[in-house]
């Protein structure tokens, strides 16, 4: 399950509807395929793992340099931003094949759908813009200038505000989605990468300063700065990038890049509760549907770490393609 707050209501709706059926039907089918998708930047493919056995059941060839992935509303289609071919590939989850492509600007990296899945917001790291793409027409309908190397994108629950990080400007842009312009900027740590969105808080991973900046979404100010330092590491090795959170918003999980750990943070107290060892340069992170298992993609050890959420132990690692970027679970 990809932890996007705007999906929560949909997910609950689907969950409630399927609850009655699930006793009679295969629960896995009701919850989705259970597949774990991993995009591999250098081998230009998506590794598809069985969600129970963690065996790779298929490798889907994509356009070059697949990175961020998102599902459509009913999770029948998987969208993959392919940075070296300037497209978003569309994969049919039933057949596990690329069935369509959406052209983008140069080097798409991270993207998000709006609330009704009619628009895609995508950052183009080589072009210093965030683009708005009409999904049905497959057209770039608007382009928003940002600081250099925009990366993380996130849309507010009401769809009115788009948050974009600029890695070079060290800031988070607040974009009014109706006007299509930047209306405010918040300076955070060095090289801000990705977002978590909890109630009124926007959590931003700061890769170079080894921090997470927490922004008050009402007042547009940084209220907390979390510093990470797993035992035995130097601050310079700690490069937070990926971030995920539990649906009850109690726990936030941050991947620490070259420090080869993920951090578990108590979202209420902001206390760092645990560091769990994973593979090399951990970036991508996602939870399965019942939040019993955490998946972490390790870009420099070409594998996926699987963590038991109850014990917070790394229980397994599975080799995938070259330079795994994003992991996404279909639950």
């Amino acid at each position: 399950m990809k932890l996007r707050s705007k999906l929560t209501s949909i997910a609950i709706g689907i969950g409630a509807a399927s609850l009655a059926l699930s006793a009679a039907m295969d629960p896995a089918a009701a919850a989705g395929t259970g597949y774990v998708f991993v995009s591999n930047e250098r081998s230009n493919d998506i590794s598809v793992l069985d969600g129970t056995t963690y065996q790779i059941i298929k490798s889907i060839p994509t356009s070059r340099r697949p990175r961020d992935m998102q599902f459509n509303a009913d999770k029948t289609m998987l969208y993959v931003a392919c940075g070296d071919d300037d497209v978003i590939d569309v994969i049919d989850v039933a057949t596990l094949e690329v069935v369509d492509q959406i052209p983008t600007g140069p080097s798409p990296e991270m993207f998000e759908f709006n609330g009704d899945f009619s628009l895609i917001y995508v950052s183009n790291e080589e072009n210093s813009t965030a683009q708005v793409i009409d999904v049905a027409q497959k057209l770039i309908v608007h382009e928003i200038p940002t600081g250099a190397e925009p990366e993380g994108v996130m849309v507010s629950e009401d769809g009115l505000t788009l948050y974009v990080t600029s890695e070079i400007a060290d800031m988070v842009h607040f974009v009014d989605t109706e006007l299509g312009v930047v209306v405010d900027n918040v300076v955070v740590g060095t090289r801000p990468r990705r977002f978590a969105m909890l109630d009124n808080e926007l959590w931003v991973t700061d890769e170079l300063s080894g921090q997470v900046s927490i922004i008050d979404r009402t007042n547009h100010v940084v209220t907390h700065t979390l510093e990470f330092l797993p035992p035995g590491f130097r601050p310079v090795d700690v490069t937070p990038v990926g971030i995920a959170w539990t649906e009850d918003q109690s726990t936030v999980i941050v991947t620490l890049g070259r420090a080869n750990h993920v951090a578990f943070v108590n979202a209420a107290t902001k206390e760092i509760e645990d560091y769990v060892l994973v593979g090399s340069r951990a970036w991508g992170v996602d939870l399965n549907g019942d939040e019993s298992v955490l998946f972490v993609s390790n870009g420099l050890s070409d594998d996926l770490s699987i963590i038991d959420m109850a014990t917070r132990q790394n229980i397994r690692s599975v080799p995938v393609g070259r330079i795994p970027h994003t992991v996404l679970v279909d639950d």
């Binding site: 200038p145 600081g147 769809g159 109706e178 009124n200 979404r217 310079v236 070259r258």
Partner: protein, 420 residues
């Protein structure tokens, strides 16, 4: 004699944005802007746009960049000057500055004498330019620094590697974003040590810079446990009486060593050393595996995007070590300005010299200035013609405070005595 070239902000704007977009960029943070979610409160009016001009000085006809050693006008060295690296960083800062009401500009002055450079700096100071990149040889740099000492201006050395500039000739008003020879040779010595290739033959050219490089390497060898069997001078001549100093096979025959280190700033002899040795030895230094501040093939740590921005501006050139030093200087100055939301000399200077602050290196570890000699700490790349083989410092060499201080002269050893 000197002339100035004003760089237009438009150049940078059109570099990075599609046509038309630069003009449609809205003003940031309008009070009472359309409601965002959660509803944005009424925000204070943005401060008026503040100009942050940066100066750039280079020596006309600088011999270091002449086609030294070229034959038939075919050049075999990358001799590109640093300037375009600074331009790329200005363009990046302009993009960020638009959101902060800071307007970064750069003005270049090309001169031949220290006097006219001092006059230009005085003009700049009067116009609120307090930070100046300088692409000068070491002796002129020191002369210029002394002439402007006490004035509200800091100089950024983007090309001179002389260790003396970080030691007895250090100056409080000079920052160094180009690594010293000591940093380069420490990086190489660390690598040779991790490989246990410890027996070294040094070939040293006739130029004063060759001697500085050779001496730096000899100090690095001692620091990291390498053994130098001999230091052999070489000359470039066809005179048969000097055959034992010109012929690589003769220079390397009858000696036991793992690696040849070549100290040849002009690179004319160095390029003929690989494959010409008597034994199958590796070659490092001015040929073979070379320590560099930057290499055009480096693509990790978000370097690919910087390479692309540089190539868009400077093709057919690709980014080299001095260009990266200039990029680093502007990046540090503009980051300090953005972080302090100020163009003031004191604010930026305080930010740069605060030991808690660091800057993006695009090479992994963040860069920062050493308080004891104003040298920027930075990782060093060890590269062949078309590949970065390794990045120093190496895990085998630890440091109490910052592993980057295993490269170059550390605080306890510094001979720099400066007072701000």
């Amino acid at each position: 004699m000197g002339r100035t070239l004003r760089l237009l902000a438009l150049v940078a704007g059109s570099l990075l944005l599609a046509p038309g977009l630069a003009l449609s960029q809205p003003a940031p943070a309008t009070p009472g802007a359309a409601p965002a979610a959660p509803a944005a409160p009424a925000r204070p009016a943005p401060p008026p746009a503040q100009s942050v001009p940066i100066g750039y000085i280079e020596l006309l006809g600088d011999l270091r960049y002449e086609l030294m050693g070229s034959y038939a006008n075919i050049d075999f060295r990358d001799i590109g000057r640093p300037f375009e690296g600074a331009e790329v960083a200005i363009a990046e800062a302009q993009q960020t500055g638009r959101f902060m009401n800071l307007n970064f500009t750069m003005e270049k002055f090309e001169g031949t004498t220290v006097e006219e450079m001092v006059a230009q700096i005085d003009t700049w100071i009067a116009a609120d330019t307090h930070f100046v990149l300088v692409d000068l040889p070491a002796d002129m740099l020191v002369e210029l620094a002394d002439a402007v000492a006490g004035k509200p201006v800091s100089l950024f050395n983007v090309s001179a590697q002389d260790d003396s500039l970080r030691a007895e000739n250090c100056r409080a008003n000079v920052f160094h974003t180009m690594p010293s020879y000591a940093m380069y040779e420490d990086a190489l010595a660390q690598y040779l040590s991790t490989k246990n290739w410890r027996d070294i033959l040094v070939l040293q050219g006739p130029l004063p810079a060759d001697e500085l490089i050779s001496q730096a390497f000899q100090r690095s060898a001692q620091k990291f446990g390498l053994r130098i069997s001999e230091v052999e001078p070489f000359v470039i001549t066809n005179d048969p009486r000097y055959r034992d100093q010109t012929n690589v096979a003769l220079l390397t025959a009858g000696k036991r060593f793992d690696v040849v280190f070549v100290a040849d700033a002009g690179r004319e002899l160095a390029r003929f050393v690989p494959y010409q040795t008597t034994q199958p030895n590796l070659v490092v230094g001015s040929a073979g595996l070379t320590p560099l501040n930057w290499h055009w093939t480096w693509e990790s740590d978000a370097a690919a995007q910087l390479q692309h921005r540089y190539e868009e501006l400077a093709l057919p050139r690709q980014m080299n070590d001095v260009s990266f030093a200039a990029w680093s200087a502007v990046r540090a100055i503009t980051t300090a300005s953005i972080r302090t939301r100020s163009g003031g000399f004191d604010e930026i200077q305080d930010y740069l010299t605060n030991p808690d602050n660091d800057f993006d290196s695009v090479k992994g570890n963040p860069q920062s200035f050493r308080p004891w000699d104003n040298q920027m700490r930075t990782p060093i790349l060890l590269a062949t013609a078309n590949s970065v083989i390794a990045r120093a410092p190496f895990d085998e060499f630890l440091h109490e405070f910052n592993v980057l201080d295993t490269l170059g002269v550390d605080q306890p050893e510094t001979a720099c005595r400066m007072t701000r």
